[in-house]
């Protein structure tokens, strides 16, 4: 047994008051004449035994009454012996517990099921879990961003109230595992993690949560989830607008509408760019109509369904005149062939805007390492003369390409290369090999660490080679960044350099959120071995069940009332 207010036990000293009053009583009672004193003595003599017993009983009752009231004020807590009940009674408390509530407020939680957003139900349960927390508990709240927020009950309740569906996807298993490790590190008797999620299959991943000693209570997924379709991706490219549809596997095709507008124009002014049909898992390409040079913002829409957040996705279209490219003899056959293809596709023209080869030109230059190592110094001197901070260094070890901007080169093997070294600052790196710069840009000059030849790199033989040369000529050499995609609230952020727009980032929801299919019990058992899969009622019953204790102060007060009634009855006896 423990006490919520142990200091109140000091009041037990007051239990001695009745006895002390009895022993130390120094009152002088009023005095009066009473002739029939002999009768009184007779009565007293006959009642002496009964009165002694009665006084003793009253002393015991009064002492017990004070002691019981003091004990009640100290709020004694008794173990209730396991689960059962909903634990919300006024007398129900629990031992200090470390509790982490994982509230999945990812986009899928905004789906409307049975006329109510799933998130509302999850928030209500999270609120119920936190509301039962006691002052001695340690609390965390984990939202879809994966961040574990520690805080007081009131602060976390406010966080729950303010939680809205986010475009992010919650990596549920890692989040629960982090939460379990957090609570396991606390030296408290109760360790619990409450997982409140729609339990999308796509949220589980392949990991598993197995932290000994931590009770993981997982809210069971709803029995029925609606079929959903969402736009997973919309990218404008050479062939037009490629649209990928995600959602519940097996769901039927849905009509798609693409619209475009110039940046700065109101969305209502967008004009339709095309219509098509697609089902989850399919990808379709819409030809875009001729557009004037510049940046365009587009959006793809589908018919509204239970999950509205993935029914619209933005995209960006960059319309620019093809670069005029001049290649010298040293570029090799692969680059020449790629340029020929691009000329045929009218992606480049013959001209002097961009030169590509082993030498610098007055125009924008894409410089390859010379085939003859003896010319390397001459090239470096020319680079230095042009004020380029980068120059060719000694040969570097082989490796694979990595680039945030050029997705088509990622993972391509590089066998031979020169290290690219900077004389002041290393900005302008576009791609790397083994973490070392391989493709860099400084002003109007682009340097490659390898020749575009299969003896140097596998890139010329890769499917992305022509798009790579296209990007080099039309974008990298012109100093333009690529169009990036990121998870976030739907919007477009343009990258500018001076007055020029050189790139954009398109934000949209995580496409995996569109598939609302819930994980099966087997999948959940695999991901959360040892966890308890519970309905709402079960969750209410099992919260803090392992450490639940009852505040018996109410019982004690009732007992005190009983003692007071007995005391009154005894004191009134024979009056």
């Amino acid at each position: 047994m423990t006490f919520l207010h142990p200091l109140a036990l000091l009041g037990l000293a007051a239990a001695a008051i009745p006895a002390l009053l009895h022993l130390l009583e120094r009152r002088t009672p009023p005095e009066a004449e009473f002739p029939p004193l002999r009768y009184l003595r007779d009565a007293e003599r006959q009642s002496a035994r009964r009165l002694r017993l009665r006084h003793l009983l009253l002393l015991i009752l009064r002492t017990a009454l004070v002691a019981v009231i003091v004990l009640a004020a100290a709020r004694p807590i008794m173990p209730t012996g396991g689960s059962g009940g909903n634990g919300t009674g006024s007398g129900a408390v629990h031992a200090p517990t470390a509790l982490a509530v994982v509230l999945d407020n990812s986009l899928s939680a905004s789906a409307v099921v049975d006329g109510r957003p799933v998130l509302d139900r999850l928030k209500a349960l999270a609120r119920a879990s936190l509301a039962q927390a006691a002052p001695g508990d340690r609390l965390w709240l984990v939202l879809a961003d994966g961040v574990a927020r520690a805080g007081s009950r009131e602060a976390l309740l406010a966080s729950v109230d303010g939680a809205t569906a986010t475009p992010q996807r919650l990596e549920l298993v890692p989040a629960v595992e982090r939460a379990a490790h957090l609570v396991a590190a606390e030296p408290l008797r109760g360790l619990e993690v409450h997982v409140l999620s729609d339990l999308q299959r796509t949220a589980l991943g392949t990991g598993r949560v197995d932290v000994p000693g931590v009770a993981v209570l997982v809210l069971a997924p709803p029995a029925r989830v609606p079929a959903n379709r969402g736009i997973a991706a919309a990218r404008a490219g050479e062939g037009g607008l490629t649209i990928a549809v995600s959602g519940t596997p097996g769901a039927g095709a849905t009509p798609l509408v693409a619209r475009v507008r110039p940046p700065g124009n109101a969305p209502a002014s967008a004009r339709e760019a095309g219509r098509t049909l697609a089902a989850p898992g399919q990808s379709v390409t819409l030809p875009l109509p001729p557009l004037a040079p510049g940046w365009w913002i587009g959006e793809v829409l589908l018919d509204a369904d239970e999950l509205r957040g993935d029914d619209r996705r933005l995209f960006v279209v960059r319309v620019a005149a093809p670069a005029s490219v001049a290649a010298d003899a040293g570029v090799g056959p692969f680059v020449s062939a790629a340029l020929a293809v691009l000329r045929m596709a009218k992606r480049v023209t013959v001209g002097g805007e961009v030169s590509i080869g082993e030498r610098l030109s007055a125009a924008r230059s894409i410089v390859l390492p010379p085939g003859d190592p003896a010319l390397l110094g001459q090239v470096n001197r020319a680079l230095a003369a042009r004020g380029v901070r980068w120059h060719f260094g000694p040969p570097g070890p082989p490796g694979t390409l990595a680039s945030a901007d050029l997705a088509m080169v990622r993972g391509v093997q590089v066998n031979r290369r020169y290290r690219l070294e900077a004389t002041g600052g290393d900005s302008g790196v576009v791609a790397t090999v083994n973490g070392e710069p391989w493709l860099v840009r400084d002003g109007r000059v682009v340097l490659l660490g390898s020749r575009l030849d299969t003896t140097w790199t596998a890139l010329p033989a890769a499917p992305g080679f022509v798009p790579f040369v296209d990007a080099l000529a039309n974008r990298i050499a012109r100093g333009e960044a690529s169009v990036l995609e990121a998870v976030g609230a739907p919007r477009v952020q343009f990258v500018t350099r001076g007055a020029d727009t050189v790139g954009a980032t398109v934000f949209g929801p995580d496409p995996l959120e569109s598939d609302l299919t819930a994980a099966t019990p087997d999948e959940l058992r695999r991901a959360f071995p040892g966890a308890r899969l519970l309905g709402e009622a079960g969750l209410a019953a099992e919260r803090f069940a392992a450490t639940r204790r009852a505040d018996v102060s109410g019982w004690l007060l009732g007992f005190a009332l009983l003692l007071a009634a007995i005391e009154l009855a005894v004191a009134s006896m024979s009056r």
Binding site: P29, E33, Y39, A43, R575
Partner: protein
Amino acid sequence: MVDSRRLDLLDPAEVARLGGIEIVAQGVVEGFLAGIHRSPFRGFSVEFTEHRAYQPGDELRYLDWKILARADRLFVKQFEEETNLRAMILVDASRSMAWRGDPSRLTKRGYADRLVAALALILLRQRDATGLMTFDEAVRQVIPARVKAGQWTRLVRGLIDTPDGLGTAAEAALRQLTGLLARRGLVVLVSDLLLDRELALTALRYLRHRGHQVIVLHVMDPAELDLVGPPEVRLRDPESAASVVVRPRELAGAYAATVRREIAGWRTACRRHGVAYHHIRTDMPFGMALRLLA
């Protein structure tokens, strides 16, 4: 409905406020006799002894009309009493009798004095020789039983002149009484009976043995019947230094039972010895008390 002129039926304390003992006793007796329409006690006879000159205040019925007709002088006839009753009234004048449980009531002594005065007046009006003895721990006043004029005044004066005493010793008074009552007569003991019961009963038994009719009037204040008071009080016996601290609420039941038992004990013991016993509360109208004796 109570006749407002019937002092014998009014509250004794209210009646006592009308005047001294004599006035109250006369008023009580008048009301009492008017109420019962007959002599309450046995009749009496008288024997003429002599004449004396009339004095203002003498009853006209004792005028000797023949002398008045013959000599035109006023003489009254005087009689030698001849009665079959000689009454001695013993009044307990101990300190315990000077007590009352409520200031609005008469003390037991005050009540007893007025009751005795009324009783004596009735007896004397019947020409019964009536005497008085007051006592506490010793005999304080003795007025032999007589029937002559002015006896009642003497008796009343004897009551008034007897101060409140200390202890109570009825046995001595009763024993002395036997010497005073040569003939059989009536003995009335008025007391709160806070005395040694066995000794008193022995003396009463002795009186009975001598052929006297004995009546015991046990006077009690209503506050002596039930124990009430503050939560805790020190009660002191006015006749001794003894005191005891009690919680009246605790002891009330046992006390009431003890008092009931004590009264029943007196009543039983008196009956056993042929002594009439009457329990009288000081809030009882005098008429009702007198009726107990009738």
